[in-house]
Amino acid sequence: MENRKIRILISKIGSDIHELGAFMLLNAFRDAGMEAIYTGRYQSPAGVAKAAVAEDVDVIALSDHTGSMPIIADFVIQELRKLDADDIHIIAGGLISTDDVKKLEEMNVTGNYTAGTPLDEIIEHVRKVVRA
């Protein structure tokens, strides 16, 4: 498994339409040599968990601009547990307040980036969580 490319699923859950960030990351992850997949918008937590398992990803990157990230992440974690797949790392980005960051870190959701974060920083973080 040493030379396996990092596999990452970028997901948008619910009816938030802002996907500029998701697309930007999709390109950035691919440019960085990762296998990146984007679910598209309007997904459900169960659907994302299923896709993550089917695609055998190392990381799920959740993107949301409604301010609901702790709620979304919690639902995804519950669904991953049902599939016995809670070893998949979750990172998050979008509209995330300082309060949200605390809640997310307690759930072991890392990154928690806001708009304007340098892409290199996010890529480095993905490599780090996969190596760990």
């Binding site: 009816s15 938030d16 598209g40 459900s44 169960a46 409604t66 301010g67 609901s68 639902f75 307040s97």
Partner: protein
């Protein structure tokens, strides 16, 4: 101890580009030579005269200031109603009624994909039982209402709720004033909404216009939307080209399939974006008015002045607002408001300084409203119509954008017209190409976002206060309450009345009859947005749920059996 010395740099903060935001190269200065081949009468005319480059009215803002509006929508219907009343008291006279994100895309909150967006960006309004609470105590025969919903389905549903509410209150529906975006291109191109196919969206769009022209003559049932095209990556030329092409295509369809002439249609309304580039934004509005007047007269055969006049409603750029150093957003907003007033727009929905962080707080909204009052009463800007008219630069830029838009529209036409260009992803290609160009310019330091890419400073108590006061998404219990209420509502409906209501919508969809009256009646019988979308889809032999996650409800199956 050695003292620190600072290096002074004469060139610090200098310009990094010689092109507008939309990549139009500009010279150091402009002279009469640059506008010599255009005559005043043909390209400009006085304000109020064809082709309306300088504005729709001779006296312009002296007689009627632009309407001031906000999208008002908070997590609960009670908060939203209270906010409306507060803003009306502060001078807002154009009420933008929005729903939450699920309402924008045709989903009821109890859909499996909906939970994570319940009451985000606005209240949940799946049916009349909550809608009436938003407008409690507000007289629907007064005021102007804006429906900026993302898709024709959600626009029509909200309009139908307004009329249902008026009829229930025994008000005269013909007196309602307002606008609906009702744009079938934006719905698919920008939002990727899957509720309807383009064919159904076009049909809904035309049904809505036809019904409105007959029964609510003061209502503008269609306004091509450039705001979201722009915010998704289109430049100024593609924004203007897109809304003009859609306006023309829909007017042609109305003429051909519904027998409604452009003169009967009346004034066109475009929803456009006020972006960061000051002069380009002003020129864009002037171009849109001039080109619409010509399209209406020369291509669509308009005889009346009314039909040649384009009204412009604005949403200032949300994308330009930043989370970092949000105090800077106040300057962005003020400049964008100013470009709207110089550009002669008819209504203005200004963004707020905390909008990149959450929904706007009351004070941030008041700032955006008062900035407009300051422009009016202290800076004295609106006393004279088109005060920048005759500026060599602005007139050159206006002509330049017009010729670029003409070329863009010809290219679109050669590729099959606007609907074909959406289906074959030509438009999407343009959008992505420009988006990448902008991203690259930022990476290369050729496009600076202040406080983010350059000129950063540590955020202190003022910025922190802005960050802390934005309105955040609702917690779990608010969302659970919405679901409990909806469940209770679904069970409280009279099954027979509901069935009859749904049946009429289904049959009208299936047989190609206008769907609006059946929708209004079904809303009175308790039909929800998700049910409307599902039943219309069934009328087109499509599955009830556009996301393929839920089955057709039992009561809808019973209705279908009876109808077929």
């Amino acid at each position: 101890m050695k003292k620190d010395t600072v290096q002074l740099d004469r060139h610090a903060g200098g310009l990094v580009r010689w092109a507008t935001q939309g990549h139009i190269e500009v010279k150091e200065f402009y002279t009469p030579e640059d506008v010599a081949d255009h005559s005043y009468e043909e390209t400009l005319g006085d304000p109020g005269q064809y082709p309306y480059t300088r504005g729709l009215y001779q006296s312009m803002y002296r007689d009627r200031l632009w309407l001031k509006s906000f999208i008002v929508g908070y997590a609960t219907v009670e908060e939203t109603n209270e906010a409306f009343k507060k803003y009306i008291a502060a001078g807002m006279n154009d009420l933008r009624i929005g729903g939450d994100l699920n309402a924008q895309v045709g989903l009821d909150p109890d859909h499996p994909s909906a939970f994570n967006s319940i009451s985000c960006a606005g209240p949940t309004v799946p049916g009349l039982y909550r809608f009436e609470k938003i407008l409690e105590g507000i007289d629907l025969e007064q005021g102007v209402y804006e429906l900026g919903d993302a898709s024709p389905s959600s626009c029509l549903f909200r309009y139908s709720m307004l009329l249902a509410l008026m009829e229930n209150q025994e008000k005269d529906i013909s007196r309602i004033r307002g606008n609906a975006v009702n744009d079938p291109i934006r719905s698919k191109l920008v939002f990727g909404i899957r509720d309807f196919t383009t064919e159904i969206n076009k049909r809904i769009c035309l049904d809505f216009i036809e019904f409105s022209k007959k029964h609510t003559p003061k209502w503008h049932p269609f306004s091509p939307n450039g705001v979201d095209l722009n915010q998704s990556g289109m430049d100024a030329v593609a924004e203007v080209g897109g809304v003009l092409a859609l306006g023309e295509a829909v007017c042609r369809e109305l003429q051909n399939s519904r027998g409604i002439s452009v003169d009967e249609f009346g004034p066109m309304v475009f929803s456009m974006d006020a972006d960061s580039d000051f002069f380009e934004t002003i020129a864009k509005f002037r171009v849109a008015r001039r080109m619409w007047a010509r399209i209406a007269k020369e291509k669509l055969g308009a005889k009346t002045e009314r039909a040649m006049k384009l009204k412009i409603g604005i949403r200032t750029s949300g994308l330009s607002l930043q989370e970092q150093n949000p105090l800077n957003n106040a300057a962005r907003i003020t400049l964008q408001i100013l470009s709207c007033v110089f550009g002669g727009v008819n209504s203005l929905d200004s963004s707020c300084m905390d909008e990149a962080l959450g929904l706007p707080s009351f004070e941030a909204r008041m700032f955006s409203l008062n900035a407009q009052h300051i422009v009016t009463h202290e800076a004295n800007i609106p006393m004279v119509a088109d005060p920048l008219g005759g500026s060599y630069y602005l007139e050159w830029l206006t002509n330049k954008i017009e010729s670029d838009v003409t070329a863009y529209m010809a290219e679109m036409e050669a590729n099959g017209g606007i609907f074909e260009c959406m289906e074959n992803d030509w438009l999407k290609g343009k959008m992505l190409e420009n988006r990448r160009k902008v991203q690259k310019e930022r990476q290369d330091g050729k496009r600076l976002i202040i406080g983010v890419d350059a000129f950063k400073y540590p955020e202190g108590p003022i910025n922190q206060a802005i960050i802390d006061s934005a309105y955040h998404a609702p917690p779990l219990d608010v969302r659970m309450k919405v679901l409990a209420e909806l469940k209770e509502f679904r069970e409280s409906r009279d099954p027979e009345k509901l069935k009859q209501g749904l049946k009429a919508v289904y049959l009208a969809s299936k047989h190609g009859e206008n769907v609006v009256r059946p929708i209004i009646d079904a809303i009175k019988a308790g039909m929800t947005l998700g049910e409307m979308v599902g039943v219309i889809r069934l009328g087109y032999s499509l599955p009830y749920d556009n996301l393929n996650q839920i089955d057709t409800p039992e009561y809808v199956k019973v209705m279908l059996k009876e109808a077929n």
